[in-house]
Symmetry: none
């Protein structure tokens, strides 16, 4: 049974206007330490409350019960792609986030400068977090000396601080490969290997990466503190059907952080540059309104403060979001979904497996008669607890994008 094929057959090209608003890591847990309140429950959210009145609620399992997703699978799920079926390497995501368009067959690696001692052992996995300018300077040196290895083109681009990416563009290459990052200090840079020893393409790619090391390390010799580098998440861009093909939607991404722009681009979203705050993102939405059908708007700070275990800051981030929300509501959208890509409970200080709450608002969502949008309320909502990959199907349904199935 191929459910996606059935959805496709039913899809009507109605050119709706929909927004998927992701408060990264929104979900949380009620604990004694915080008087059994979650940040979403503790926050003052008059605009969300007003929207709630005419909305449905539920909770979403990001990947599968008990599984804590990274940002990649978290967003792939929200975009309606099964995160287990569509696995994307970190190298690919980082590369896309830097605005580099990957071609079919490219192998991309997330890299960062590190410090190694005279014995070749890693003494600082982040090279003291060198400033971005220093990283740019070092990448320039590497890029000017290493343009090709055999027939394979090598593309090197700096990121923020000690981070950069390397793309290998050639024939017969494939990921995923093992990391060269030994994951802790005191060990040497690891030799990169094919994850599947039977794949000739992975083996060729692994040899290329190891050859790249032989050329690049001598160029960094004597530099301090960045005299080495580590590579992780070395993978190729998987074949992912685009949003346009899959949903008959023209999608656009309004995100601030490169990672989320990269993820959006991976599924064929147009990437908008410029906005730096949620207010600016919503204002830009007003300007772009006519040009697209589907707006993915990403708010980072709920996750950031959750990761820091800062309950008050997470609560305030939600309030900041709520205060900006009326800007978005200035345009009449057919469907609005507000959710997270996963939970980031303050107590856990990291991503978690707890289903994130979701609010779905449309003229046809119905009202769950809840006063507020909260985790506890969402438990009792009409959407139930469902896999995140179905959210976009529910949004499409609410936008009347599906024909009746059968007579």
């Amino acid at each position: 049974m191929n459910l996606d094929a059935e959805y496709s057959k039913l899809t009507l090209d109605t050119k709706p206007k929909m927004a998927l608003i992701v408060l990264d890591g929104l979900g949380d847990i009620a604990t004694k330490e915080q008087q059994y309140m979650t940040p979403l429950e503790a926050a003052r959210t008059p605009n969300l409350d007003a929207l709630t009145k005419d909305s449905a609620q539920g909770r979403m399992i990001p990947v599968a019960p008990g599984i804590t997703p990274g940002s990649g699978p978290g967003h792939l799920g929200l975009f309606g792609y099964d995160p287990i079926e569509f696995q994307v390497g970190r190298g690919v995501i980082e590369t896309l986030g830097l605005g580099i368009e990957l071609k079919s067959g490219d192998v991309a690696a997330r890299a960062n400068f590190c410090t190694i001692n005279e014995k070749g052992l890693v003494t600082d996995r982040r090279a003291g977090r060198i400033p971005t300018e220093k990283c740019e300077e070092l990448c320039k040196i590497l890029a000017s000396k290493i343009k090709k290895i055999g027939d394979t083109e090598v593309i090197i681009r700096p990121g923020k601080e000690h981070r950069f990416v390397v793309v290998f563009r050639g024939k017969g290459l494939e990921g995923p490969l093992t990391d060269s990052d030994p994951n802790r200090e005191g060990l040497p840079i690891a030799v990169v290997k094919a994850q599947n020893a039977k794949s000739a393409k992975q083996k060729k790619a692994a040899k290329l990466v190891n050859d790249f090391y032989k050329l690049a390390l001598p160029l960094l010799k004597g530099k301090q503190p960045a005299n080495g580098f580590l590579m992780r998440g070395i993978a190729h861009q998987p074949a992912i059907p685009t949003f346009q093909e899959r949903y008959k939607l023209r999608p656009v991404c309004l995100a601030v952080y490169p990672m989320y722009k990269g993820l959006a681009q991976l599924v064929g979203m147009v990437k908008i540059e410029g906005p730096q705050t949620i207010r600016e993102q919503f204002e830009r939405f007003l300007l772009e309104y006519e040009k697209y059908d589907f707006f993915f708007i990403h708010f980072k700070y709920t996750d950031k403060h959750g990761e820091d275990g800062n309950f008050d800051a997470k609560k305030k981030a939600i309030e900041e979001f709520d205060a900006a929300l009326p800007i978005l509501l200035g345009k009449k959208l057919d469907v609005i979904a507000i959710t997270g890509d996963h939970s980031t409970p303050c107590k856990i200080k990291g991503h978690s497996w707890h289903p994130q709450p979701v609010l779905l608002h449309s003229p046809y969502s119905g009202s769950d008669k809840l006063q507020r949008f909260t985790e506890t309320g969402a438990n009792t909502g009409s959407l139930g607890i469902f896999e995140a990959k179905y959210l976009i199907r529910l949004m499409q349904a609410n936008a009347k994008m599906f024909d009746k199935f059968g007579a």
Copy 2:
């Protein structure tokens, strides 16, 4: 997509301490006859109530919607094995319950003495429920005369009353076979056949069982009332990955009844003998605490009284359990799950398909802000209604046993 393989890849060997406490047949239904209260709702449970405050709740579908499980599939599901994928014959379960360790390739049958008349027709399928001593005596006769059939070893062991088991240990054998039990009186003992006519191993096993009859029936000739026997659930031990392999956990079983010990043993749990009451089981848990990671504790009486349709006794059994619970709480477990293997509603006087309530307690379970652990409360819990096979994955997540999925 193999989800279990993904869970395995993510599993960290954190040596947590977890308890899965099964109140057999716990779930019930609220009916007018009982003033719309379930036994769990009617029971006085101060200790469960206190635990509830910092716990999540939900309900679990034991196998699939509408399916009423036997004890085998009910427990296999709780242990995280899809009960449709991993089907275990009753013969195998009974054999394990008698403490006989099965070897790969063994075919085991559940048997019981019966009465046949001079025409060979079954007149009493249970031979008047002969006393256990009589059964032991008859099994001794059979076992002393039939040790081997060809190359195949035959192991005969008495159970309670008219029940016994027969194990065929040889090469090239496989189940499942059809029953020899005609299922009603007035019919002859049925010839046993392969369930899959194309399986040479099943056919060989069927011939063995029929040959066994030819040797055994003459030995019972003239005995009254047990002059024949019936065989059911003739099957081999399926290949089930052990708890250790699958979850990186050292599991132990604290059960009183043989059936549940057998089920636990099937998935590689260590079987503890001795405790006869829930207090004794909890006290033994304290003694065994250091040696294991995962404690399966089985309480039978909720099911027993549900089967009898005795509401008050089921309620009292829950109260008895609740009174003993503080003994368990004397050790600081990382995760506690309290549930049933299925529902046994008093009104139905038998197992049912109704999802059983589950309570999950850990420092990271969050609070569902419920005052009590009940079927109705569990309907609104953050765990939702989910398949029982995922419970152990949620327990693992709560014990921080899973690495993050993807970047």
